[in-house]
Amino acid sequence: MQKFDTKTFQGLILALQDFWARQGCAIVQPLDMEVGAGTFHPQTFLRSIGPEPMSSAYVQPCRRPTDGRYGENPNRLQHYYQFQVVLKPSPKNIQELYLKSLEEIGVDTSIHDIRFVEDNWESPTLGAWGLGWEIWLNGMEVSQFTYFQQVGGLECSPVTGEITYGLERLAMYVQGVDSIYDLVWTDGPMGRVTYGDIFHQNEVEQSTYNFEHADVDALFGQFDQCEQDSQKLIEAGLALPAYEQVMKASHVFNLLDARHAISVTERQRYILRVRTLSKAVAEAYYAKRESLGFPLCKNLVK
């Protein structure tokens, strides 16, 4: 008997959390900051640096200002959810675990065409890259799968395996609906609530803000401020606060991008500025963990 009703959005999340908890992952909570992907969460970005093992899973709200469509496109949102799983070191059966998780949420692998299609990942702002696949479910990309090779300019050893589920896409599949806004979030004693009920107005208003109202001059100022702060914090040996400034700078950059405030040539320069900060953070974080004697290495499975 299924414990969770995966035909609801929240049931899907609960089932995934439950599954990965059983595999031994720490189920952590979303990062309380604006980020463009679950990869930014310190549990992924920072924890994939250095020798210490760490496996966790979490939901991460993602903001991609340029993807806003004022609530009019059934497939595109400027705010959506990823379910992120990071396993370090990547276990041998990581693909099988992923496939099991799909079965757990109600995807019958004897009916559907599931494929691992090469898709290599690179984040210029995080100075990170990895190799892996996008996972196709009857031709639809529902997850990303990456073996991290480098993060913040540092070689990953051991390698972190990252699985990112596109929750809305997967839910649309499981529920058989054509619009994100028609997804059932919950259907219980207190009534039926859809994704649209919760987020449609948010999409309309935030799209308007992102594209029309975001104050360009103030944002440029913020970017510079974040950059300065991050540099100072690195000098003070505070890798974690310095990293928060990097994430802020990155989001500000995305907003400026949505306002078309950055020209094609300038764009590259801004990406480089964020990357420089990311690398400094990665090095500072590594140095700090090293000075602590990499305490989590005690969890390494012999």
């Binding site: 059934p74 497939n75 990547s90 692998t109 004897s110 559907h112 494929r115 639809m140 073996y147 050893s157």
Partner: protein, 688 residues
């Protein structure tokens, strides 16, 4: 000697589809090379590949290397023994290292001296001993642009490896490859077959995978099956599948057990230009579009799944759900783009760089426009249309459709231009400016399109050479080679009366002071000549033939082509070889002369009959040939020139060029000089 088939299989996670064939092929050729190096005999090496495996079957491999006698030379006899005939330390040490005594050593006697010799019989090693290292060596040399690590291991490969199976007949070869111990267990299809199977004999590999594993490991067989299935499904719809070879390869590399299905989309999307729809089907989704008998797109798509689904309808409707929003995007872009004219987008090109030193795409468009107009004037095309098409040539890059699907640049420009009410010729030129895209591709159809295409290519060639970024080795980021070949093909095949020096000058003038390379025109012309050489060589013309024309540097491609063809015809004549030899002789004689050589022949100084005859023929030929040269009829000219063979030979047999009388000598040199000049108006036949 006993022989068996050897199987080597690597079971992996899903390999990159676009490099699967190359990986497998180089695995095979590397192993083949290593086997040859090890002197193991075999019939052939066959490769198999699927998303989750690379495999080789080496047929009739001999079980061991042949035994060999190895000879090791020791110290020379005169240092091996001291004056008393006792073995020296050196000799004893050498003998000991070979496990013998000095007395047991044999002698090697040559005419240079005498040495101690140790002959040992080396037993040939067995396949089981040799194969692990051979396979490891072959794997290490695979072309993997981005090797990866996984887990905590330091092993690197293109994707994680799970199983290794090396079977020599029924015998398991022990050993480790890429951190995995060789074992009989192989893996089947992820969902259809048995997860793991035990392979008892190398020869059962494909059958076991087929029957129990539900994997067709033979790449070519899988590809053929897919092609058949796709064609059959299309035929069932009274259509024809657009099977692009590259896509077929990719699809073959994405499935282990192909099941081909067909889906549909709404007719309304067919309003969108089919190029855009086909692009998104093929490139984003790996679908095969279906065309009707007259080449129109049908609202169908064929795709290859990797499963015998319990409910194929769900697989089909799933795929239809994916393609619909993508087609809707294309439709949306098309409708949005049509709201703005291409002309109104020109300004926005000033925010896009063509190249840092060479300015924006708007500036490039303006240059193309001017150059196209100039070319149009020369080739008698409509100058206004050429100018207009040049100006609009890059505007479609700013449309949503092309931003999303870069491959449809040009063709979308054509559709939008038609919609904007631009002249038909202008619209077509926007599409055809990119032709030819590859070797053997079609050329622009109209003269206006030729002018724009030439202008675009010239602008890039002159600009990039102008800032000193000529292609080096295989680094050609601006695809200048392709541009140059395309340019020459258009001029030659379309028979356009254009001169490449003039063209380069025109393009250069457009850049004003931006170009730093003062030698740019010459560099571009040399580059074009080099393409001429390569192209004609590829078409089977001899190096000498091409050189004979290249030496004359004819800067009009059409003229170049005529000369090549004329010399090729000339070479078929029996007179060709002796005439070439005579030209060579003349060229050598003239080269040795210091100072200027006359071209005026003084009839009163002619002494011998042979030189009189030659001078007379020359005179009449000169007047006969000048109208032929004027119209570029080199073939007829060379045919006439062939008649010189006999008189020239008689001349050399009877006349002493370097006569003692200086005036007579100069007169004879003048005859030869004029003769040579006649040939040089076509080609330097002395190099033939």
């Amino acid at each position: 000697m006993s022989q068996e088939n050897l199987l080597i299989e690597l079971g992996t996670e899903e390999l990159p589809p676009k490099s699967l064939r190359k990986l497998a092929e180089s695995f095979a050729s590397n192993v083949e090379a290593e086997l040859n190096k090890a002197e193991l005999s075999f019939d052939n090496v066959r490769w198999l590949a699927s998303p989750r495996r690379l495999a080789l079957i080496i047929s009739n491999l001999s079980a061991t290397q042949a035994d060999k006698v190895v000879e090791k030379r020791g110290p020379a006899v005169n240092v091996a023994f001291d004056s008393e005939g006792q073995a020296t330390k050196a000799a004893q040490g050498w003998a000991r290292s070979n496990g013998i005594t000095v007395e047991q050593a044999e002698r090697l006697v040559t005419d240079k001296g005498e040495w101690l010799l140790f002959k040992s019989e080396v037993k040939g090693q067995s396949v089981a001993q040799l194969v692990p290292a051979i396979a490891a060596g072959a794997l290490a040399k695979l072309p993997i642009p981005k090797p990866m690590r996984w887990g905590s291991a330091t092993t690197q490969f293109i994707r994680p490896v799970h199983t290794v199976t090396m079977l020599f007949g029924a015998q398991l070869i022990q050993g480790e490859l890429l951190g995995v111990e060789s074992d009989r267990v192989i893996r089947g299809h992820r969902f259809l077959g048995e997860a793991e199977m035990v392979l008892n004999h190398a020869d059962q590999y494909e059958t076991l995978l087929d029957d129990s594993g539900k994997v067709i490991a033979d790449y070519e067989r899988r590809k053929a099956i897919i092609r058949d299935q796709v064609e059959a499904l299309a035929a069932h719809e009274n259509g024809v599948a657009a099977i692009d070879e590259e896509l077929l390869e990719e699809v073959t590399s994405l499935v282990e057990w192909p099941v081909t299905l067909i889906g549909s989309f709404e007719d309304k999307f067919l309003e969108v230009p089919s190029e855009a729809l086909m692009y998104t089907m093929k490139d984003n989704q790996k679908y095969f579009p279906v065309l009707d008998k007259s080449g129109n797109l049908l609202p169908r798509f064929i795709f290859v799944s990797n499963i015998v689904s319990r409910d194929p309808a769900q697989v089909i409707s799933g795929n239809e759900k994916v393609i619909r929003p993508r087609l809707a995007d294309a439709e949306f872009f098309f409708e949005t783009d049509k709201k703005k004219t291409l002309a109104s987008r020109l300004e926005s090109l000033s925010s896009v760089l063509f190249q840092k030193q060479l300015g924006t795409l708007k500036e490039k468009s303006e240059r193309i426009s001017n150059v196209a107009e100039d070319i149009a004037l020369q080739i008698k095309a409509d100058t206004k249309h050429a100018q207009r098409a040049g100006l609009l040539s890059k505007t479609d890059l700013m449309t949503e459709m092309v931003m999303e699907f870069p491959d449809v640049q040009g063709v979308m420009g054509m559709y939008y231009a038609k919609h904007d009410g631009e002249d038909h010729e202008v619209a077509v030129a926007l599409n055809e400016q990119y032709l030819p895209r590859f070797a053997g591709d079609k050329l622009p159809t109209s003269l206006v399109a030729c002018a724009v295409s030439l202008a675009d290519k010239l602008d890039t060639l002159v600009g990039i050479f102008g800032i000193g970024q000529a292609p080096k080795g295989d680094k050609d980021p601006f695809a200048l080679r392709r541009a140059a070949i395309g340019l020459l093909r258009i001029i030659t095949d379309k028979n356009l009366d254009l001169d490449i020096v003039e063209l380069a000058e025109i393009a250069k003038a457009q850049y004003g002071g931006k170009l730093t390379n003062t030698n740019v025109v010459n560099d571009v012309v040399d580059f074009l000549f080099a393409r001429f050489r390569a192209t004609y060589q590829a078409n089977g013309f001899s190096v000498e033939l091409i050189q004979s024309v290249l030496d004359r540097r004819p800067t009009k491609p059409v003229d170049f082509e005529k000369r090549i063809q004329a010399v090729a015809k000339f070479q078929e004549l029996p007179e060709a070889a002796p005439i070439a030899a005579a030209n060579k002789r003349i060229s050598n004689i003239l080269a040795k002369v210091k100072g200027d050589i006359n071209t005026d022949v003084d009839a009163s100084l002619l002494e011998e009959d042979a030189e009189k005859a030659l001078a007379e023929i020359l005179g009449s030929l000169e007047s006969k040939l000048s109208p032929l040269f004027a119209v570029g009829d080199y073939e007829a000219a060379l045919f006439e020139l062939a008649s010189l063979q006999a008189p020239v030979d008689v001349f050399f047999d009877n006349v002493m060029v370097m006569a003692e009388n200086e005036a007579v000598k100069q007169n004879r040199l003048a005859i030869l000089n004029r003769l040579r000049n006649l040939f040089l108006q076509v080609a330097d036949v002395s190099v033939l």
